[in-house]
């Protein structure tokens, strides 16, 4: 039987003399030396492959096949090196494919031109495209969307930065002014007490006052919009007194009519008004007493 023969042959290989010979020849490696069966996973029939390749190979002129074998060779060559590309590094991998395609294009187009074949599509050549116009429109929209999102976030960031900076500057200016005021008062005191004869501190008055007054125009000195509204509504006490006269104009005035309150049916808001907050969360007195007694 074939099996028996193979077993016997294995035992002959494992015999002492042969092992010694193998060891002397340096073939054995440390560890338990077992004869493993040849892995059945790899079948590489190179000869067969080559033969079939020859049989199917069609020697067509290049124009029929348009294939180019190329190494990625462009300006980005220094960014990629063949041996180091890790398959999981997406950017490098895609860059390598891109460069390969570029090299092919750079080789193929001149070749086609030399065979006097037009490669570029003229502007007036209209034909069906692989992707429909609708699809391309969606693609373009998506790109534009991305662009605007980026711009918006940039703007927001800049605004935040500006506000922080502005706040800092404001604080500095205020402190400076306070310091100057203090110095001025000290100098005046000293003069009054007779320590200083010259009035030269009056000469170095900050000339910026003129510029800053330009800034302090009427518009900038107005209070907040909110403040203004509240002033109008509640300020000076007596304003309310004359606003409830029943004149023709006041009767026709609709500025204080809120349709959301007066025209809509009392639905959710009507029920929501008595706040279901505290009373529902906190149990009543009896319940609390019971719970207390039960705990103990």
């Amino acid at each position: 039987m074939d099996l028996d023969e193979s077993f016997s042959s294995e035992s002959s290989v494992d015999s002492d003399e042969e092992l010694q010979e193998a060891f002397a020849a340096g073939k054995l490696r440390p560890g338990l030396n077992l004869e493993l069966p040849a892995s059945s996973k790899t079948i590489n029939n190179t000869a067969g492959l080559n033969q079939t390749l020859l049989t199917i190979k069609k020697n067509l002129p290049w124009l029929e096949r348009l294939d180019v074998t190329s190494k990625p060779a462009t300006t980005h060559k220094d960014l990629i090196s063949q041996s180091e590309t890790d398959v999981h590094d997406d950017f490098k991998r895609e860059l390598r494919f891109y460069c390969q395609a570029q090299a092919t294009v750079l080789e193929a187009i001149p070749r086609l031109h030399s065979m006097s074949i037009p490669t570029k599509r003229p502007e007036d050549f209209f034909a069906q495209m692989a992707k429909s116009d609708d699809h391309m429109k969606r693609v373009r929209e998506k790109l534009v969307e991305k662009q605007t999102a980026i711009e918006r976030s940039e703007k927001a960031k800049k605004l935040r930065e500006l506000r922080k900076y502005g706040k800092k500057v404001q604080i500095e200016v205020i402190q400076k002014r306070q310091k100057e005021k203090k110095e001025m008062l000290d100098a005046v005191k000293k003069y009054r007490k007779g320590q200083k004869d010259k009035l030269d501190f009056l000469e170095n008055l900050p000339g910026e006052k003129k510029n800053s007054q330009n800034k302090k125009s009427a518009d900038n000195l107005r209070p907040n919009k909110k403040r203004e509204f509240k002033n109008k509504k509640f300020g000076f006490g007596g304003q309310k007194k004359r606003s409830k006269m029943n004149t023709k104009s006041s009767a026709l005035d609709m500025s204080e009519f809120n349709p959301n309150i007066n025209q809509k049916k009392p639905g959710k808001t009507g029920k929501g008004k008595p706040k279901p907050g505290n009373k529902n969360k906190r149990p009543g007195k009896a319940r609390r007493q019971k719970a207390k007694s039960r705990k103990k």
Partner: protein, 237 residues
Amino acid sequence: MRTLMPHAKSESKMDKKDQLFVINEMCEMRNCSKCIYLEAKKKQDLYMWLSNVPRGPSAKFLVENLHTMSELKMTGNCLKGSRPLLSFDQEFDKEAHWSLIKELLIQTFSTPNHHPKSQPFFDHVYTFSIADNRIWFRNYQILEEDGSLAEIGPRFVLNPIRIFEGSFGGPTLFQNPHYVSPNDLRHLMRKRGAQKYMSRIQAKKSLEMRRGQPSYETDPTDDVFVTIRPEDAEEDS
């Protein structure tokens, strides 16, 4: 893929129960010499057969990382039916099985010259590159003649499983040793959880074994009434 290849005749759905050699007959009926057969199994794995129909070799691949043309990140577009330029990595020439696959790919994907449905200009290029023992396919639109490209669809990765001598059958010429079937992969992933538990149990057992037996019996109450003689106690203080 069909929109890209004007020289393709499609047969959309096929057998589930019929054998694979039925495909040979179908191709002969339609007068085709090459065939791409896509089969999906378990709604999860996609296999692609690439075959030279009359009696030539065929190859089976596992398709991974498939992105179709309709993804919005692919911004390029090309004429429907224009002939593609094919770009191959240099690794294809280094080994016999890659060269065979290369030849099959060339013959399948290149549109014949002056085919009635093809358009005359060249505006896209297919790249086939080898990385990690797999073939990566990309399709780029040629924007400028100096080489700026935009990606059109689709993109996929082919993991070669076997190459057969006949069409959809026959003796195996090449079997990929690096290929792990998706079933095996899923099996391994599930086993990993079990692995943690098993290794913990084994570690405990080995600790027990290594601990060793106590060399002699000691009684813990032996040193309860140990008294130090006053002469020795003085040394400490």
